[in-house]
């Protein structure tokens, strides 16, 4: 089996046993890896209504056939489990070096079940798998944990997946961390790992990954690299992701009125230039670095030696766009050094920067409106007060005082607070918005409302890409579209989601596979997969089906767990007018959304309430999933 290691590692923390399961070749081509593999395992093995923080939940680390190779952007894997943030399909992707190392150790993925009686870590050295005590690592931060384990195992090349204090405390937006500053950020999977009493997984592999056609693989990767480097944002230009990071476009976003500001009150901010990639480059940036097999290197490396927000170290990287917006404009905080410190603390604690920033912005607005008082919080929480933000972040990770409430996520916190707080929570299904303003790019609203994991900025597409014609001719997306309109968008959203879902099932980094108005490297991506695996006749059409299958699996899990009602709605704020800027007065009304969603459901072959129909599921070879949705099967 080329490309693949051909084996999954199974670990039951309750019994302390581990075993190897062979990977079925036909199944591999249907689900590939990443999302497809993870979603299939959840539907097969997680019982309906299971407690995401209980022993029955599965925690899946899913690699794929390109991990281990020099395919650009292949240093990526998916973490999948039932989410404690949404109670639906939980998943997050991360880069770094772990995916490759696990392949060299001889596995395509790890499936963890059960709960360890006390805090442990898993050590995987090729065929040797040990469960070791981790009591001495309790409460330790990411880097400390990594260094301690590398010391114990006597090998500093050991790659480590871990959780910090937030995961141990089961903060509902705790991350799974790896390689010090890489995060499987969204949907609270760190809390699942914490609930399993699993502090870390240490991985060392000295084996190899073989290819069906090594020569052909090399050629197609060179062709792909050439295309990627020609893309203006992925090459050597002074405004590229390598030069300025993902926050390079902050000023432009503010100019277009789509930079989330003041808990989504407006999309434009006078201090945007103080937190942008350019500002970072001119102040605290040391340089940039890459994940495994990446020709771009969007990762920032920053240092803040001293001052009120000092102690920021290069090992922890630096803030990317989502972090800069969440701790910057969303909280009206123009202090870049404080953003760097908040980013580092999130990496130490293992916290999702998007949801953490969103929780703080939500609390700030609650304070402003008198919904949360100085007494309840313990101090004043004014917009832009960076010191108060750092203090509140620490309280969230430790679940102290009001931090304990905010650690539940904005949806649950708002419900507990009452007093109209839910009007200020900007989330879908319990997952806070990515830092992208859907009122100024309305196609995104469809993904936010319907995506399996909640308000997801990574599934569909971002409307400004359709400002020029021929954004994606391979699939017939040739016309220009107005970013403020929902007209024609459901079709494009669906296409983009299915292709993204295929990419997430390989998985590859989103930037190395930019879909709409992107690199135009779909052929090279097919070529890499074919040369790696030897799959004959792999076409874009089959890839779209693989993506659609994985998407429907994920959606089916969320629908199954929510009891059938998909909860596809947008938060109250989206029906309020943006205050000013280039997207001023834009809203998304319930009426607009409902019309778009009906069109979207129809195109997807889903029912009027958004449930994948039996016909659609059968067409995708998922008849057993249809049974689960009609309540006959419970997943086991």
């Amino acid at each position: 089996m080329h490309g693949y290691a051909g084996r999954l590692l199974r670990v039951d923390l309750s019994s302390g046993k581990s075993w190897v399961e062979p990977l079925d070749g036909a199944r591999a081509r249907r689900y590939v890896g990443g999302r497809g593999m993870g979603a299939r395992i959840l539907l097969d093995e997680v019982p309906r209504g299971c407690d995401p923080l209980g022993p029955e939940n599965r925690l899946v680390f899913a690699m794929g056939p390109l991990a281990g190779t020099f395919a650009p952007g292949s240093g990526r894997f998916a973490v999948v489990a039932k989410s404690p943030a949404t109670d639906g399909f939980g998943e997050a992707y991360t880069g770094g070096f772990v995916a490759h190392e696990l392949k060299y150790a001889g596995y395509d993925g790890i499936v963890v079940q059960g709960t360890a009686p006390e805090l442990v870590y898993l050590s995987i050295v090729n065929n040797r798998v040990d469960i070791r005590p981790a009591g001495h690592l309790a409460g330790r931060g990411t880097l400390e944990t990594e260094e301690a384990i590398q010391g114990e195992l006597g090998d500093r090349e050991t790659r480590i997946i871990s959780i910090g204090l937030a995961g141990e405390k089961k903060v509902r937006y705790a991350c799974v961390m790896n390689d010090t500053d890489r995060a499987a950020g969204r949907t609270g999977l760190g809390a699942v790992m914490g609930a399993k009493n699993l502090k870390a997984i240490a991985i060392r592999g000295t084996g190899r990954v073989t290819l069906a056609d090594p020569k052909g693989f090399r050629e197609v990767v060179l062709a792909n690299l050439a295309k990627i480097r020609k893309h203006p944002w992925l090459g050597d230009s002074p405004s590229s992701a390598g030069a300025l990071g993902t926050a390079g476009g902050v000023e432009d976003l503010s100019g277009a009125g789509i930079l989330p500001t003041r808990n989504w009150e407006t999309g434009t901010w006078e201090h945007a230039d103080r937190i942008s990639g350019t500002a970072m480059k001119n102040t605290i940036l040391l340089g940039h670095r890459a994940c495994q097999s990446c020709p771009v290197g969007c990762t920032r490396v920053v240092r803040v030696a001293d001052g009120p927000f000092g102690g920021v170290r290069p090992e922890y990287g630096g803030p990317e766009y989502e972090t800069v917006a969440a701790f910057g404009s969303l909280c009206e905080n123009p202090n870049l050094e404080s953003i760097a410190l908040l980013n580092q603390r999130c990496n130490v604690y293992g916290l999702d920067t998007i949801s953490a920033g969103s929780a703080i912005a939500f609390a700030m607005e609650c304070f402003e409106k008198g919904i949360l008082t100085e007494q309840e919080i313990g101090f004043r929480l004014e917009w832009g007060d960076a010191s108060a933000m750092v203090r509140l972040l620490d309280m969230i990770a430790r679940r102290e005082g009001v931090g304990d409430l905010l650690a539940e996520g904005t949806r649950r916190a708002a419900a507990q607070i009452g007093r109209g707080a839910s009007e200020l929570a900007v989330e879908v299904k319990g997952l806070e918005f990515g830092m992208h303003e859907a009122r100024g790019k309305k196609g995104l609203a469809i993904s936010y409302a319907t995506a399996p994991r909640g308000a997801d900025h990574m599934e569909g597409f971002h409307d400004p890409s359709l400002a020029a014609p021929n954004a994606w001719p391979e699939l017939g997306v040739v016309e220009t579209m107005d970013r403020f309109s929902l007209d024609g968008k459901p079709r494009v959203v669906r296409l983009a989601e299915d292709y993204t879902s295929f990419i997430n099932s390989v998985p590859l980094c989103s930037f190395m596979s930019l879909t709409i108005a992107g690199i135009r490297n779909t052929e090279e991506i097919s070529g890499m997969l074919t040369a790696a695996t030897g799959w004959a006749d792999l076409s874009l059409a089959e890839e779209m089906t693989i993506g659609e299958r994985a998407y429907n699996l994920a959606r089916a899990f969320t629908v199954r767990e929510s009891g059938g009602a998909a909860d596809d709605r947008l938060p109250a704020k989206l029906s309020r007018r943006l205050r000013d800027g280039a997207s001023r007065d834009q809203v998304i009304t319930d009426q607009d959304l409902t019309t778009a969603l009906q069109e979207y459901y129809r195109l997807r072959g889903w029912s009027k309430t958004g449930t994948p129909t039996e016909t659609k599921l059968k067409e995708l070879g998922l008849a057993d999933v249809a049974q689960q949705l009609t309540g006959k099967g419970d997943g086991r």
């Binding site: 190779t69 020099f70 490759h100 060299y104 000295t206 084996g207 890459a290 990446c294 020709p295």
Partner: protein, 156 residues
């Protein structure tokens, strides 16, 4: 004139493509543990240093090899696989630790610049690795330094 792989650590992003390119061309599969070039990571200092055989002009490995398996030839330290007895004396002799041992084959492995067409260089997108004439290898570094002098002088 001979050519050599010149490393500019400032440009290295730690993507490790060089290790994979090397292992693929030399072993037919991806296995960084079998690569002849290795990136050494200093996270605290934010430095990544790729190291491969420097093809020393007066190579200690050649001097200590008892089997004549390492020979100096056209500016390269060439490995004669057939002669290697797997004693690993060269690994002890090498001051840079750039000779690896492959226990499966019982042989050492070292960079041979892919016979003057190094694969690692082709996959180094940040251009931290370049293959240049030995005599000219330090020209860019010299020029960088000279530029700083020029800039300092202009600031006066």
């Amino acid at each position: 004139m001979s050519r050599m792989i010149v490393v500019d650590p400032i440009k290295c992003t730690n993507c490790r493509m060089c290790e994979l390119a090397c292992s693929l061309v030399k072993t037919g599969a991806f296995a960084p543990s079998r690569s002849r070039i290795r990136v050494h990571v200093f996270a605290k200092e934010f430095k990544y240093i790729p190291l491969a055989c420097f093809q020393c002009a007066s190579a200690p490995c050649v001097k200590v090899c008892p089997a004549g398996a390492l020979v100096q030839e056209d500016g390269l330290v060439r490995f004669v696989k057939e002669a290697c007895i797997g004693c690993r004396m060269c690994m002890l002799g090498c001051p840079f630790g750039v000779i690896a041992f492959n226990s499966a084959e019982g042989l050492i492995a070292k960079c041979d610049t892919c016979d003057g067409d190094p694969e690692c260089v082709k996959f180094c997108t940040p251009h931290a690795l370049e293959f240049r004439e030995s005599e000219l290898a330090d020209v860019p570094k010299g020029r960088d330094f000279a530029r700083r002098v020029a800039e300092a002088a202009a600031g006066c």
